[in-house]
Structures are given as structure tokens and as C-alpha cells.
Symmetry: D2
């Protein structure tokens, strides 16, 4: 990584870690191909106590969005209410009343998966496709997140880097987590990361954001993965990675004039499924308590046709 | 059940099958309380092959909604596209491009859970609360579906009534499935239903709707549970039930002048979590092939604060 | 017009009636340039009785949209209600209560203006610009409808073709109104059409749609302007034209294999402001009664930044 | 006005200035009844030069909303783009391309009218109706803003208080404009206010908000009408009033523990149509230049069925 030459660094990593063609020309799943039935059997065997954890933030107006790129927090409104039902406004017979509701939300507003059509590199989408042909105003015509709908269930692994090397469980903003630190965390927590795993990296920043607010812009300074972890993300053959931060990689980015360069390698070239703004705190506390850092994880995106992302409520079961 | 007196029939069932107070005055989970850690261990042990199934319809404009009670199909639009990225419109450095999207949808528009605040009986919500105090235009202030976020993962059981007693796998519209038929189906398929289970009842109607269209109104004639199954829903102590139809219970309803009377008993009185418009066809074909009708099921609602329902992508793993 | 060769016919009309460059390279107003201050003085002088008419349909779920190209009817929901206010849920002091609301709607869902960025011809937008540079997923960056915000107020002229040559005030579906019929209508109704006018053409179809429903698709068969009126639209130097139909021009279109060919000439080449689904019935009845077919008309689009259309409530005053 | 007793002050003003019953029990227009045909003739005669002004802010993400009570800025997205059209994605014949768009916005998000169902006093809506029966989650069933659709066109009067008594054209935040100051401004500017007028009060705060930002909350400190102007609003028999501020009345409100007390009198008791966040700056500059402070004004709300407010693009013509 040459901090003075982001373009060359990105191009080098893109070439070194490309999975283009690895699963055929028609592939729509990327690294999710690594998550096979054997891995699911291995994951299910991790359910020992039967305790379950939601890894999702609540979806409401108290979320992180401030308007950047027209991203708002979710707006949830009622079509019918109990107040109206009790007042007899609804016209149903025999005392029936009902409530209905509607939501308007960016698919990137809170706990989410980034689909394969979310990021491009020089006009190229995942598997080398022409971005202009893949994602139009009709949505992602090829790699829409609906294709992943049945598959995101397997072995989850938590790397609680905040707890392992942070202060009071938190890494500071701007802290770039390296491959060495990921490996050291796994060792310290007695867990191995391998092919087909769903890896969760906790930095502790969400706890801080909840305590202190998200500030002027959800994409502001934060800890996150270093650009240099691209090789690890590729070489471990993990199926997906998620963090408890807005943008997965460290912010500000490590190049003076770049924007989310690790995304630019990880999504279009590695074909990696990336989760953001996951709430890992309750699960992490449990893992710290019982010393078990792997579990069964289901994190199914909503199959919104042509979507380049999806809100998700990931469920870990130990 | 007295077909000439719906009000009395509903009142009788409501009284007979009430779970009010069963889990304390502050309960927000209803029958989901039956789904405990032991049940999750039992469910996880059902993962034998590692194959996973999505039980969700795709969320798009081809859905069932026709405008009734302001319910539309999901409207998914793009904030940024690959076409724009390729055209260099986005202003990111070093060739980075991106796509973002937004959705507007009723929470009852497609594959969904009905939350405990979705239906009332004579102004009463689940656990005997005053509906007017529970669900206002700010949403469900007490039993919002966010409270269920971590818990809906356990043993799933498929009762494929369409296959067991229908024609070509489908029950006709207006067919009211009785307790006897549910029991006979379970026996024929070699599966037992019990406390804490997540029960999926397949009628075959979704396959028909997909083939022939939803018609003028998604809530039109359909097979579904008979009003008389209220006792079974209560007595089996299942955690949740879901069907492949718009409205879970038979349509037209069995009383001349009623509207969704089984909802009126099941949600506010039994506290039952109900799923609708689930796509059970791929799972059912697999169950028919291997003769195994129980599995691990995760069906976590999005934790939308105060929501009375949620779209869901349920994942069954066998 | 050669019915067997739509491409050539469109190209010929586009060339013959082009206004590209007429108002300079930076123009964002098109024919609205014809509506000058003198014309506004002329229009204001037409206010004789002081009676006003709304020419807008109501915006609600009973509108014409059926889902074509993700167009829905407007979904209007409440953020706060009187029911909640009366129940004391809102927390305001001293008895204050309030109601707020939200709308989600396509800008093309009902009574509307088509902006200059709404239609392109072979990748060219109004004034010869590259459509790909003008309208991105950020909206119309050049000719957004906000630029027209102050100007759409002037002399309105009603040509009630339905009344002049139809049956019971209505033209049949598929009826192509010609220049001769427009001229004859104007003469019969004693009104002249000229430079800078806002011309309203009533076919009577909206009355029929309201009576009989919009059918399966709002863009189905309807009366409307013939493709051959392109010359008249150009030569009269009118500022804008609006009709009481979904699509302004006759449907089905007059070429076997075309789609809205008159739009393709009128918007990108003539730079003409086009209104659709205007409700002209009350105004038309008044004009028939008093024999006066011109009036003061204000029809200001909402200045939605970058919009290619806008809902509008046009107000005619006689 | 007793600053130590807001409840009594509000009650006293409500009683003193009530118009309940003035236009019959079925009235849905309130003070808009004052705007009659004679007033429209008078207004139209004010068109002398033919120059027109939009009094609307642009509707986009740069607006004043920060999320209070789930109010967001307008989110405008594209269903089709020129980029897609140029790329040949749309499937229309003969080179036709198109762009469509969608908006999601609170009706109170920017330049707007407050409808008669927007504010209640002790559970009472305009004309003494029960708020709980008037505005449900289905919207305003009685006084929805669609009823006003044809009528809001008449004589406009600008009272530029910012210019008359402010500094550099602006009143400071927290400045409560009194009846005396309104009268003095009218006299200084040579204009009379009377029955049926549409009165625009400029404070200069919008210019400041545009220059310095809206701050943390659009409803923060601002100049505006004093609570004591209730009598003037009632006695002048004006049809409507609008200001260039978020909330029309001075903020913070003049009572220690009140919230928008003048609204509480003006809307439910006077039946007054109130406009907020109007951009009066260009018009005001013109009025200062030519010394003419009255004009023709059309400010038609969108007839959204059951709405308690509407975005509006008011057009003044001089």
C-alpha cells in the first residue's frame, strides 16, 4: 500500500485479489459461494444453549442518517391505529379493529447488507460486468440481492477487536484494523476463521455512537478495517464480513484523497458480501462471558427485486 | 361455532382461548414465550443436510396488493445507479462508483409477520390492553414488533395440507381447513406439532395465485384455517403459525357478516404470532421428496420501532 | 405522416418543428419563453366575474395508476391525528393538539405538468442536449421543473373539442384530434389561439374514466391529439398545452409500432410544456354557459429540484 | 395577555375571536369565505406590469427539516433517467426515451399551507367539531385541504416588517411582531389590509436561515407574530396569512410553557388559513423598488384528499 498513490494501490489490490470468473460467468453470489451445506451443518452444531441474539439496530428516526446522498432515517407511519379502532372509525363488524403501517427507507439506512451491485470500480461491477448494464434506474438487473435470499445462514465468528486491543472495549476513531490484529484477536479469543464463515468484526464504535451521537455525518471518523486487509478478506475465503460501523473500513480512509477504497476492491473484485452498522454488543458481551466466539448465524436479506442492499435483522444463536 | 351468530361465536372463542395475563401484565411477546432455549436446541438438531430455503416472495411491483386500505406493492427506486457511475456523474475519486436505493412499502404488503398490535377486539389489544393507548399514530407504543427481534428462531414444522388432501397439491378457494385435517396431515407426514413450534400451513393457493394472478383483490377467496381451529391454535401452544395465503384464515370467512374473525381471537386473545403470504413451495417439494417435515427456521422481523408488522425473509434449513 | 414509417415521420417532424437554439444555448424554459409580461396583462384582463375553478383531480388512492412503470396512486398517511390529539397522546401543553401528514407519489401520477426532461429523442433532450448528461439519478440537472416555478401564469384558452364535435360532450377512445378540428373548435367557440397562450384541450375522456373507471391501465385507449398536430403546436407558438387524458396524444398511437410519438417531437424538439389528466369539466361547463372560452390561468408546478414533472392544481379565473 | 397564565390567555382569545358557526355548521373553508368574487376582481386589477414571482422555496434535501416529529426533507428519486434512455435500457421504439420521478415528503416540510385540520384546541377542531371525528388515520374526513382547491386566488398584500422596522431587512429571532407594528408597516408602505385579503408578513428570517443555516431544529428561535395579534387576525377579516418563517408566530413563544399558542387560536377558532416558510424575498425587493405592495396572488394547495396541509408554489403577479 502506497499512501501517496491510491489509484495504483487500489488497482494492484484489485488485480491481486480478484475472484472474477471463479464461479463462472453467470455468478450472482460472489463469496457467498463459499458458504456450502457442510458449513451450515458445522454452524448448526454450534447451537449449544439455544440462546438467540438480534444484531440489528432499531429502525426509526433516531438512526444515523443525516441526509447525505438523500439517505434519511426510516419514516414509519400508520395507515390505521388502535386509537381509531377504539373510536369506531374503521367500519369492521363485530368489534374487529386493526392497525396497519408503511415504511419509507433507504436500503442503506441502518443495519444492512451491501449487495454486489452497490459498488463499482472504473465502471466495472462484480465479475467484470459493465456497471452501466447491471444497475440502471430499474435496479440491479443481474446481481440483485434477491438472489442471495436463501443462502445467508451458516457459521458466524465474532472478532471482538474492540475488546481485544481497544480501551474499555472500543477502538478510537480513525483506527485502522490490520490483518495482524484480526489474527491476534482470533487467537486471543480462541476461534478460527475459515472458508465460508460469516465474520463479524466489532470495533466498539456503535456503542460510542449510541452514547455520544453520530455527529454531523454518519460517515465521519470511525475505526474500521485497514485497506491492507484486502488480502486477508480474499485469502481466508470467508463468505461475508460485517462490522458495527457505518462504513466497514476505517474513516478517514488511509489515503489522503480516496473514498472507501477497500469497498472498491472488496465488492466488485472479491465479490464479498459486506454488512454495516450491525449491533454486536449484546452478542459480544455473551461471548466474553462464556469464551465462545462462534455460533449459528442467519442474516437473510429481504428479497427486494433488484436491490443493491437490504436492511437485515441478523440472528445469532449459541 | 354458530354460523348465524358471529358475535357470540367470536366472544365465546375469545373467552375460551384467552392467554391474557399468562405471561404477566407487561408481556410483549405472546405465544413467542413458548419458544424457549430447549426448543431452539431441538430445532438446531434438525439441520442434517445443511440445505437452506427462503420462504419469502420477492418484494416488487408484481406483488398482490391492489390498493385496498392504501396498501400498495413495494416501490423500489434508485438513488444512484451503475449507469450514472459509468457515465462519471458521481464525483468519487479513483474510479469508485456506487449505487444506492430506497423502498416505500406497507409492512403488510407481502411475506410478513402480523405483530401483536395488528388486530384488536372491541378496543382491546393483546393482554387486555386498551387499543387506543397501545397503537397511536406514533405506532405500537407497547408491543411493537421490535420486541420480537431476537426470538423468532426455532423448530419449524410444515403441514402441507394442500398436498395431503388437496388436488394437485392445492386446496380450492373457500376451503376451511379444520383441526381434524391439520392433525391428519401431521400424521400422514409423520411429524408432531407441539409447544413452541413455528407451524407453517401450506394450502397451495400461492402457487395458484402466481399462476393465475391475485385477481381484483388480494383478500379475495382463498383456502385457509377454519374459525374452528382457534382451540387447536391455543391448545397446541405453538409459538407462531404462517400460511401461504393473504389472510391466514379461509376467505370468504365462514360467517356471513364477519371479517377475519379468527384474527380477532388469535391475535388479541391468544397472543399468536401470524405469518401471511409465505412462499412454502420449494420447501414443501423438498419435504415431499425426503419425507422430513420439520427443520430449523429463522424468521426474524425487522425491528422497526413501533411496527405492527414486518416484512420477513424466513429461512428454513434442513 | 406516413403510418408505415413512424421513425421517418418522427424524424421529419422533429426537424421541421425544432426550436433548438431559439432561446439560446442555456435555455431551460422552452415554449414558456412565449409567455411574456404583455401576455400576462392580457390574461389578467380576462378576470371579469371573479369566479375561480380548480382543474385538478383529487390526489388519492382512487386515481388512475395501476402500477405501470412503478407508478402508483398517491399514498397519503398521517403522522399525527385528531383522534390521538383528543386522546391526549401528543404531549403538547394547554390543550394544543395537531395533525401532520406525509405523501408518497410519482410526480406523473395525476394532474401534472411534464417537465422538459421528461422525454428524449434518440438520446437528445430539449435544446439538443445529451439526455445522459441532463437527467441522471440525481434528477434533471439542467431543465428541472424548478426553473419554471414563477412563470406559468397567463392567458388560458379552452378548446372543448369533446363538446364541439363529440357525442354528449365526449370523443371516443382512439379519436385523433386534428389541426382542422382544433381550429374549427376555436372558431365555433369564438376564441383565438396565439403566441404565449396556455391551451387546454378537452376531449371528455376524463368524465368517462370517472364514470366507467380507468380500466386495466391508465395509458389505454383514449382520444387525444393527432401526431399531425405537431406543426400546429409549433406554429401557433403557444406556451403550453394540457388535456384531460392520461397521455395528451391519441391512444393507441397512430403508428402501428410507436409509443407516444407526439411527445417525442413536442418535448425535446419544440420544448413544449405539456399537461395531462387535467380536470376541465367544471370550467368547460361554465364556458359553455357563458360562451367565454378564455380566462386567467395559473398553473405553477411545485419547484421540486431536478424534477421532470410536477403535480399541479391549475386555477382558472374568469 | 397574561404571560404567567397561558391557558387562560389562550382560552380568552379563543372565546373572543371565535368564528364558529359564522358560515354555518357545515363550513369547511373558514376565513377563506371572506375571499369572494369581488375581491378576485379587485386582485386581478392589480396586474399592471405582468411580472410574476414564485414565493416557494425549492423542495429538496437542503430544506429545513431535521427529523422533528418524523418530518424529513423531501426525498425525490428517479424511476427512469436520461442516462438509462441514452444507454438504450428502456425498450421504447424509434428512439423514444423517458424519465419519471417520485417524491416522498411531509406536507409540512417546506413552503406550505396549514389546513383547517392541522391544529386543535382541547380536542376541538375548526367550527367546534370533535377533533377525534375529524382527523383520523384516514386523514381529515371533513375539512381536508382538497375543499380549498379552487379558491385561494385573490388580492395579496405584503407587509414587509423586516424592511420597515428591522435591521438590514431582518427582524431578530424572538422578535414578536405586534398589531401596532403591522399597522405601522402597512401605513409606511402605503397599503391597506382588509376583508378577504391574502396577507404576507415578511420578517427576513428566511434570508437569514438561507445564509446561516436552519440550525439544529427548524422550529427554533425566529421572529414572528405576537400572540397578541390574534385580535387583528380576526378583526381584519383577512382570508389568509403567511410568513417567511417555520412557524408563523414568534419563537420562542411568549409564554414560558406554551407551544404555538397563536396557532391554537387562529386555526381551530378563527378558522384562519396559515402559510409558512414562504420565500418573500424577491417579491419584497420588487415591492421596495416600485413602492407597490399589493398584487394578484394565486396559492392553490394540491387537492390531496384528507390532507391537513399542502406544499404550495404561490405565484404573485404585479
Amino acid at each position: 500500500m502506497d499512501r501517496t498513490d491510491p489509484a495504483a494501490s487500489i488497482a494492484r489490490a484489485a488485480k491481486a485479489y480478484s475472484n472474477w470468473g471463479r464461479w463462472g460467468a453467470d455468478d450472482v453470489l460472489g463469496t457467498l459461494n463459499f458458504l456450502d451445506e457442510a458449513k451450515r451443518r458445522e454452524g448448526a452444531a454450534l447451537v449449544r444453549r439455544g440462546v438467540s441474539f438480534s444484531l440489528s439496530q432499531r429502525f426509526d428516526m433516531d438512526g444515523p442518517q443525516k441526509g447525505w446522498r438523500r439517505r434519511t432515517n426510516p419514516v414509519h407511519t400508520m395507515l390505521d391505529t388502535g386509537t381509531d379502532a377504539a373510536a369506531g372509525h374503521q367500519g369492521f363488524p363485530h368489534g374487529l379493529g386493526g392497525a396497519d403501517d408503511v415504511i419509507t427507507m433507504p436500503l442503506q439506512c441502518s443495519t444492512q447488507w451491501d449487495g454486489l451491485g452497490h459498488i463499482f470500480d472504473h465502471g466495472r461491477a462484480w465479475n467484470g460486468r459493465n456497471a452501466a448494464e447491471v444497475v440502471t434506474s430499474d435496479g440491479d438487473l443481474v446481481t440483485g440481492i434477491e438472489h442471495m435470499a436463501p443462502y445467508v445462514a451458516g457459521r458466524g465468528v465474532l472478532l471482538d477487536v474492540g475488546r481485544a486491543i481497544g480501551t474499555a472495549g472500543e477502538l478510537p476513531d480513525g483506527f485502522a484494523v490490520t490483518e495482524e490484529q484480526l489474527t491476534a484477536t482470533a487467537e486471543a479469543q480462541g476461534v478460527a476463521v475459515g472458508r465460508g464463515d460469516l465474520v463479524l468484526v466489532r470495533t466498539g464504535q456503535l456503542a460510542r455512537a449510541r452514547r455520544e451521537g453520530w455527529g454531523e455525518y454518519a460517515g465521519g471518523p470511525a475505526p474500521g478495517l485497514s485497506f491492507t486487509t484486502a488480502g486477508w478478506l480474499h485469502g481466508t475465503e470467508i463468505a461475508a464480513v460485517a462490522t458495527d460501523t457505518w462504513g466497514f473500513e476505517v474513516r478517514p480512509n488511509e489515503f489522503a484523497h480516496a473514498f472507501q477504497p477497500l469497498h472498491q476492491v472488496a465488492i466488485p473484485h472479491i465479490g464479498l458480501l459486506i454488512g454495516e452498522m450491525w449491533d454486536l454488543d449484546a452478542l459480544a458481551a455473551d461471548c466474553a462471558a462464556d469464551g465462545v466466539y462462534d455460533f449459528w448465524l442467519t442474516a437473510a436479506p429481504l428479497p427486494i427485486t433488484g436491490a443493491v442492499g437490504s436492511p437485515v435483522n441478523p440472528i445469532a444463536v449459541k
